[in-house]
């Protein structure tokens, strides 16, 4: 017997439902909250920060945390808190743009190698296979070296090196979907291949893609800041977090506080993306929940 689902009638009921949803999706909510805070800092950095990112005051160089400068100052007397807040946009935009690009490329390659038959699919599959054996970071370093340091090189390096894993995951999901009855049904009634791909396969693979994109964004933050730290990313005086850590390293003996804030900011952003990814997985894909 089918039990009729009670309609959500009263506001109390709805409130209880929302409360339960929030409780069940703590990770998702926490991750979204962290990332929205960063988004706010990225958009309104100048308005929130107590000082300008480039305002120098050599009289106050390398001062420890104080009431005027909560996180201290750098060798040029610039306020570290302001630099970290205003620098948010660089790391966040690099992560979002490169993951967007690598998802686009990865989905395209995954659809080709997972859905089609023939030489093109074989070649794509083989190239992805080979690319997966080049450690991500090594590939990113090589591409950044070839492209030269800077924003374009950084985005190219991350988006290309993150494409193979996404292509592989999408391929696996597409091969599952390909065997479903509704695909065979669509074929039988004469729906064209590209239409099946866009209208039937892609929407069904979208959950996997969204979850993977969120988790990859966290890794993209780690790779982008590591390249910045190595001097292969965004160049000073841009207050990019990895670059800030790179310059902080040189003053570790006199000003250890310089490395605290940028590192904390990176960790928090990665945590935000990781929580969002795990939360999305629990919410959208109950089959694989922990």
């Amino acid at each position: 017997m089918i039990t009729p689902v009670p309609a959500v009638a009263s506001g109390v009921r709805r409130g209880a439902f929302v409360a339960r949803w929030l409780r069940q999706n703590v990770y998702l909510v926490a991750g979204a909250f962290i990332l929205l805070s960063f988004l706010f800092a990225a958009l309104f950095g100048e308005q929130i920060a107590p000082y300008g990112a480039d305002r120098q005051n050599l009289l106050k160089a390398l001062e420890g945390p104080s009431s005027a400068h909560w996180l201290g100052t750098d060798p040029l007397g610039r306020d570290l808190l302001s630099r970290v807040v205003i620098g948010t946009r660089h790391t966040l935009s690099v992560a979002l743009i490169s993951v967007g690009l690598s998802c686009f490329l990865g989905v395209l390659l995954g659809l080709i190698s997972g859905f089609m038959h023939g030489p093109l699919a074989t070649v794509v599959d083989a190239v992805v296979d080979v690319a997966l054996t080049i450690p991500n970071m090594i590939l990113a370093i090589s591409i950044a070296a070839v492209m030269g340091a800077g924003l374009t090189g950084l985005i190219m390096a991350i988006s290309i090196s993150f494409t193979p894993p996404i292509a592989r995951i999408v391929r696996g999901r597409v091969m599952e979907i390909r065997e479903e009855d509704f695909i065979a049904a669509a074929r039988t009634i004469g729906v064209r291949s590209w239409r099946i791909l866009l209208r039937h396969v892609l929407p069904n693979a979208s959950t996997v893609i969204v979850i993977e994109a969120s988790l990859q964004a966290g890794q993209a933050v780690l790779t982008a800041t590591a390249l910045g730290f190595l001097g292969l990313g965004v160049q000073p005086p841009t207050p990019e977090w990895g670059t800030l850590l790179g310059s902080g390293r040189e003053y570790l003996h006199v000003a250890p506080f310089m490395v605290v804030a940028p590192g904390l900011a990176i960790s928090l952003m990665v945590l935000g993306f990781n929580l969002l990814g795990d939360g999305l997985r629990d919410w959208l894909d109950p089959r694989v929940g922990n």
Binding site: V130, I134, M137, I141, S142, A226, F229, G263
Partner: protein
Amino acid sequence: MPTLAGTSPILRFLGLRVLRALAIAFAVATIIFFLFSLVPGDQAAYLAGPGSTQAEIDKLRESLGLNDPLLVQYFRHVTGLLRGDFGTSEVFKSDPLPFILERIPATLALTAAAIGLTILIGIPAGLISAMFHTRVPDLAISVSVVALLAVPNFWLGLLLLSFFSVQLGWLPSFGFSEPAALILPSLALAARLIALVARMTRGVTIDELGKDYVRTARSKGLSRTAILLKHVLRNVMIPTLTVIGLQTGYLLGGSVVIERLFAWPGIGDLMINAIGQRDYAVAQAVTILFVIAFLVINLVVELLYVLINPRMRAA
């Protein structure tokens, strides 16, 4: 008469895997060659240095073979690789291979120590977490795992460096002069793996503890600890191997950043130096070496699978 069909399945499996690895290494060398051929600017003019005449630049370009068509250069590069010739380093003014080989032990020591720490810390942490399931130690370890997965390894390294070397002066801050120097860099590199292995071990152990054979062992009078160490630990080794196999790429890539941070005299540090000096022959050679290391580690992991788990031997 030993034929291919007559050889042991493990050897044949290994032979096929080695052949596959060689094919992949060849393909990667191709990709890397064409990637580095995209470097903008005149390589010869840069290497000749400022103040050199056009004639000198032309001579250098000719001697480097940069005037030949790209496919000819590629053919020369690949045949060179097969002979163990990694091209000419313009910075070292010679075959870069000896300089690369001399730096391999430091990188090997770093990554091996990181794997060792992963096993020594990750597995016990996961076991403790599972034994105290949903109690305080479990909570503390689970929170640490989530935190460690978000922390960049180079920042962790910086914090360790700042605290243990600069503030306390207990451990050396750079180089590979004594065994103690290995502690901080390998810990910074291993942190992510430790977290992953601890999480995996915890999950597997909780699963295993609910199985029938554990109840049988309990009813025979074995203590929980004895069951954990004698029976469950054996089943934890496979997922641990899987994590290490899957994270080989992280381990090798992370070693480059960590070596840079700790001025560690390994091949990752050499690679970043080479890129800074536009010595692309060395950068390419190191990249290929990293891929070979990746393939070798994964081969070893696959072999260990077969050795640890008799069920897989038949497959």
